[in-house]
Symmetry: C2
Subunit: 307 residues, 2 copies
């Protein structure tokens, strides 16, 4: 006969009853940004006060974002523009993760990196000592199918990094495909595979998962994923903050990236319903990713702490 | 004890010994175009004479192409420009297949079809009585992530057709994604899923499989595929030519589309090495799609018939 546990596997709504226990057992809160801190360029209600309160209670704050269009510096600037003070060191973006993946794997400095994605990736590559090609620069280029046309690509490209690219075009798809198919040993790195994201506050738009899938389709290869739910970033995070994973809580709005990342890393997990996941999607019997806790939004912390 | 057959499962090089038997047992030759008839805009050596010879011997010729950028009319024009006489009725393109799929499934005439792909799809949709949106017209459009920006899409779109699109952009990806995700019951139809193709004679370029995968990535849905290796077109072909599939031979340069299509339909299959498949790829132990026969190019028929 199996002994039933009253909590194992059962996610709980965050409440005045369970919150003090959660709060005391966590030294660092890891926050996703899009759908948790902001939607598009609009701050989610109460976020600023919540973060201030957590800091005042001695909690470490870390921002783990799959948004690759910005570098850590550019992300910090966005926080500041919304009136929130964070340092670059507190930000772990998938653009940074892509550059760090190359670094820890001793990617040669004389090899180049072709980028399908935003300026953030190019900037993080540069900071890590690498030369990025493509990116926004190739956004206006066209590829013509004229007879005897040979599309030339740089044979010294040793990695293709694919992230969210609002200026995706056939030129970039052909460039990346050629590098992966023809340059021996060329890596195919995906910043992340989010299907969609709140690129504006009113609507979801195709995410990096769209561009990554396109390159999978043309190369018939699978990428190395460095953003969530991959725990690749966790080793940097641990080195920086020296906190045991079991005393971290990952707060996110997506089951298949944020919550899975937290679970993969052995953190506590909290899903907020302020982003892409609805309560009915969370409670749907076909959903097999269950957070430890869920709540409407991060500012629920304010009431829960006062309760 | 199993009795070994000398032929079952063993593909054969086309030779003067086996060719007469093949030739006599076939009433219709089904040809793929790209890599078989031409590469880019260059006719493959000896094709014209071979087709003339086959016609003179009373064989039916059919051209089954996954190229969706052209309609049947535009494909016939390309044949003519290369000095080969074919009628539109002999051409079965995946652009035509997409329109026919809607027709046989009673897709309502008052619903619209959003097209990620070329003029060929739009033209075939029109000929079938449908209204196509998007296509080349949306090639220059841009989608901006400005605050409060709501990307509007037509709620009467009931199907998204995705084919090869050299002018793929984020606008089209967002439009197609919104229709599939938000319009109830909206179909997601792929003309084909070829990873790459000889869009020019010197090089392979990303094929429809690239754009189709992108939409799979953003919608997390799988498409209905109407081109090869799906045998959807076969019922039209049979109605037109009234020839038993076992007396047809599919001639193609791709294992995963042409040869699989022929096998799925119960035809004889002949792989030619004038396109994307090399002899070593064909003979690789990991390849599990084996044609009945293989040869260098279709004009080998000339020598084999004279031998």
């Amino acid at each position: 006969m199996e002994v039933e546990s009253s909590t194992a596997g059962a996610m709980q709504l965050l409440s005045p009853r369970n919150f003090p226990g959660v709060f005391d057992s966590v030294d660092a809160f890891l926050f996703d940004c899009d759908g948790v801190i902001w939607k598009g360029d609009t701050l989610i209600d109460g976020v600023s006060r919540t973060l201030d309160l957590l800091r005042s209670k001695g909690k470490k704050l870390v921002f783990v974002t799959n948004n690759s269009t910005k570098s850590r510096r550019q992300n910090a600037k966005k926080f500041h523009s919304l009136g929130i003070s964070v340092s670059e060191d507190e930000i772990f973006s998938s653009s940074f993760a892509a550059a760090m993946y190359l670094k820890v794997n001793d990617f040669p400095q004389d090899k180049k990196v072709y980028v399908i994605g935003g300026e953030g990736i190019i900037e993080e590559l540069q900071l890590a000592g690498y030369t990025g090609l493509g990116g926004p620069e190739d956004g206006k280029k066209t590829a013509e199918w004229t007879s005897n046309c040979l599309f030339e690509h740089d044979k010294s490209v040793g990695a293709v990094v694919v992230g969210l690219d609002p200026f995706i075009n056939y030129y970039k798809l052909q460039y990346g495909t050629l590098c992966i198919r023809e340059n021996p040993g060329c890596l195919f790195i995906a910043t992340n595979r989010d299907a969609v994201g709140h690129m504006t506050d009113l609507q979801e738009w195709p995410g990096a998962g769209c561009m990554v899938a396109a390159i999978c389709g043309s190369t018939q290869k699978e990428p190395i994923v460095v953003g969530k739910p991959s725990t690749f970033m966790m080793e940097f995070l641990l080195k920086k903050f020296q906190i045991d994973c079991s005393r971290m809580c990952m707060v996110g709005d997506r089951l298949d990236t944020d919550i899975l990342f937290g679970q993969n890393a052995g953190c506590k997990t909290l899903l907020v319903l302020s982003g892409v996941t609805t309560l009915s999607a969370l409670q749907d019997p076909t959903n097999n990713i269950q957070p430890d806790y869920y709540s409407n939004k991060v500012s629920d912390f304010l009431d829960l702490l006062e309760a």
